[in-house]
Symmetry: C2
Subunit: 467 residues, 2 copies
């Protein structure tokens, strides 16, 4: 698809030429996200200011059948915002306002380009709590979180993005603007288009406003780092903690290499790790009553002490807590800085984690790749970083996809699925046949067609190239 | 549509003639639920044993274009299970097994005709907790709860049915059987067909198995009944409690008449109510630490004492707690025994409750009907029972629907919607235009068409007769 002078002129008319970009630098800038080293620049980048402008752009795109890709903060890990068929790159960056923090109803209305952490801090100032906290919360946007159904460390207790979305203002591919639901905690009124839109990765509509539920702020937490001599025992401890009746507010797993690389990447974080330690669990409990938190922490200690562990580190100060969280949150970046890699976002029922972890290692050994695993173990969500290291390019291109397929087959056989919180996007789409039958994929494709008969909105994502 | 001898014979072949019924008594029995006094018998009642038999029945229904209505426990309040176009009544009663309580993963796999309370008690025996507790929990089925996205008193803290559904085995109208998702707490893999199915009222597929997440059991609670001199102040107190940072595990509102009629209906429950009391809040907090619950109860007392209240009744024993809950749960039945009525299931953001309540009373006064209101105030979910009393049949038929329309218009203007937990079904469908634009309804209708192009499955529900 070529963007003709005529189309450019119409785009200028819709949003003003200040917000239409065709220079190579801008197009490249908006052509990549955090997914490996992919770059797919759109032909033109547009920056609309409101739902009406988005609507006009989509009407134009429909008329001329121009692929149009919504672009958020480009922190995605599945290539969901990449303009793989070029066309229009629809940057949402001007949708950056928190419209209303409703302290009476414990809700917030927010535009889609507000940084997640900015939102969390703004509601915290009013004594309220927006729990989802993806590792990229300092830079990702809430609209992208909704589009990918992002999770984060606190999902284990508080749920993922979908659990906070009450209502969405969406511009449909035909340019019509709807609110998907109502601003209510309960809703049994027609099909749940709100939840159909959540996690649809910008393929069904462009999210412009989000109504989210909030909780009262939680005031205290206890954070501990537990070193395990055996990685599999760390995984086993995860479900044992729940079976003891405790729901931690975070329960994160990090393999040895994840910690080592992170400490190398962040020399100012000091955590001592004995050479024999294979993995860590970072465990947080939260609540409003410190004395109860200490009781819960003790219960957790009683559980983990049944495994082979080294001394537990309790974070005594806010600074220590921040350091441990920074360590956990920068694992992905640390791995990335260390080698070419591919990141998978496997998820299984949490008791299956030990099987998943050992299976991944076996598959890696068979195909000759190393992996570094870490993630939200409390949710059964294990991020698998496959490291290129000194693998040949040829093996990297041919063997690794075979191995990834086997990892996903294992995941699905354990009643899990391909992605827990990153989405399918571009990089996982050709594995979708592992999780879904042809019938199932066709159902999804026909739903896509209901919303977007000309397939203009974020084409080439989610669905496998052939099925 | 006539059920010909040929079709009957095929049904007999599929499930055995012991499970095919054409006698009038059986047809009438399966032709009504708890919605007013409607009776819509199907031509034939079938009782399949497994998903394969459901599949064969749906293939047959598709071939001959026979309307087919899934029938649960028939405790519904929106007429969702009524065979309004006759055809096949698909009773799910033989799907009555709890297949696996997975203590390792805190999940349960259950067939759709298990009574909700049976499920709750079975998991409680293993130290686990399935929170949703519709008032009809002693008789309703979990499959119906999923189909209608049922709520209940504990939804205010723990969420509704949708929040516990991880994965569904569904027989599609074309007879294909799929699992909608995975058995995981997080899932960003393709469109969320699980949540599209939840609340779709048996119009998109027949639910045969459900994977639900469970929580660790919660061991203690405190229950109090707070009498308010002014009904509106009771509504105002609701959001004040949340603003004090407390999330009660139940927060129920009952108007004076609701209590009076219920006490008359249940003479063995003894609660003394002063003549000046206009409404009550029934408030529960739960948790594992009794000392904390007492602190939370005190905080709640501090909040409600700022309003004009009479003495708070604390339920000291399990018997007292059960009596109070029995009182609350039998309001609907008590109202029903007292008069012909229509029940609406309005829901708004909770701070808007006082406006909703006073608006409903004004609308009633204008159109000459009395209403008795009660419900899950913590969720903003107010059940409105419109009482026929000594209204003429003519006014009942003509004025009341006008009034109901005004009530829903008010609800939607307050950012609420038509149904919080009962579904739209038959009785609310012609009000759907108030909540949704034509575009929006058409989207839903086209999604219905994706699943059910011949419109055989539960036709005549959710969608307005004309739009």
């Amino acid at each position: 698809m070529q963007i003709t002078p005529e189309i450019l002129q119409k785009l200028n008319q819709i949003i003003g030429e200040t917000f239409v970009f065709i220079d190579q630098e801008t197009r490249n800038h908006y052509g990549h996200d955090e997914t490996e080293d992919y770059v797919f620049p759109p032909n033109v980048v547009v920056k609309p200011a409101n739902a009406h402008e988005v609507s006009e752009i989509l009407k134009l795109a429909n008329q001329y059948k121009i692929p149009t890709t919504p672009i958020g903060a480009r922190t995605g890990l599945s290539g969901g915002a990449l303009s793989i068929y070029q066309g229009i790159g629809l940057s949402m960056e001007r949708f950056n306002k928190i419209l209303n923090i409703d302290e009476q109803n414990l809700q917030v209305i927010v535009e889609s380009a507000v940084i997640t952490q900015v939102l969390r801090e703004a509601v915290a100032e009013k004594g309220l709590f927006y729990p989802p906290d993806p590792s990229s919360q300092g830079s990702c946007w809430i609209g992208g979180n909704v589009a990918e159904n992002a999770g984060g460390a606190r999902a284990v207790k508080y749920g993922v993005t979908k659990d906070y979305v009450l209502n969405l203002e969406v511009v449909l591919p035909n340019g019509e603007i709807i609110w998907t639901g109502a601003n209510t905690l309960k809703n049994s009124t027609g099909y749940n288009l709100t939840q159909l839109m959540v996690g649809s990765e910008g393929t069904l509509g462009v999210i412009t406003k989000i109504v989210m539920k909030l909780l009262p702020k939680v005031n205290h937490n206890v954070l501990m780092l537990v070193p395990f001599y055996k990685a599999n025992q760390a995984c086993e401890a995860v479900s044992a903690i729940f079976r003891a009746g405790i729901i931690p507010s975070a329960l994160e797993f990090m393999e040895r290499d994840a910690i080592d690389w992170t400490l190398k990447f962040n020399p100012n974080i000091s955590v001592e790790v004995k050479p024999e330690i294979q993995a860590h669990l970072l465990i947080e409990v939260d609540g409003n009553y410190p004395e109860i938190l200490m009781q819960e922490a003790e219960k957790i200690m009683n559980v983990v002490e049944k495994f082979e562990i080294d001394e537990i580190l309790f974070a005594d100060t806010e600074d220590q807590k921040n350091a441990l969280w920074k360590m956990r949150r920068s694992v992905a970046e640390a791995v990335k800085s260390n080698s070419i890699y591919k990141e998978e976002d496997t998820v299984v029922p949490r008791y299956e984690l030990p099987k998943l972890l050992s299976g991944i290692k076996e598959i890696g050994a068979k195909h000759g790749f190393k992996s570094v695993c870490y993630g939200h173990a409390g949710d059964g969500n294990l991020h698998v970083n496959i490291i290129k290291g000194d693998m040949t390019d040829d093996n990297w291109e041919t063997q690794v996809p075979v191995g990834i397929r086997e990892i996903f087959e294992l995941t699905v056989s354990l009643k899990g699925t391909l992605s827990g919180e990153h989405g399918i996007g571009l990089v996982q789409k050709n594995y979708m046949d592992i999780a879904f039958s042809k019938t199932h994929l066709e159902l999804m494709e026909r739903i896509k067609f209901v919303f977007d008969p000309n397939n203009i909105l974020n084409p080439g994502k989610i669905f496998p190239d052939e099925f």
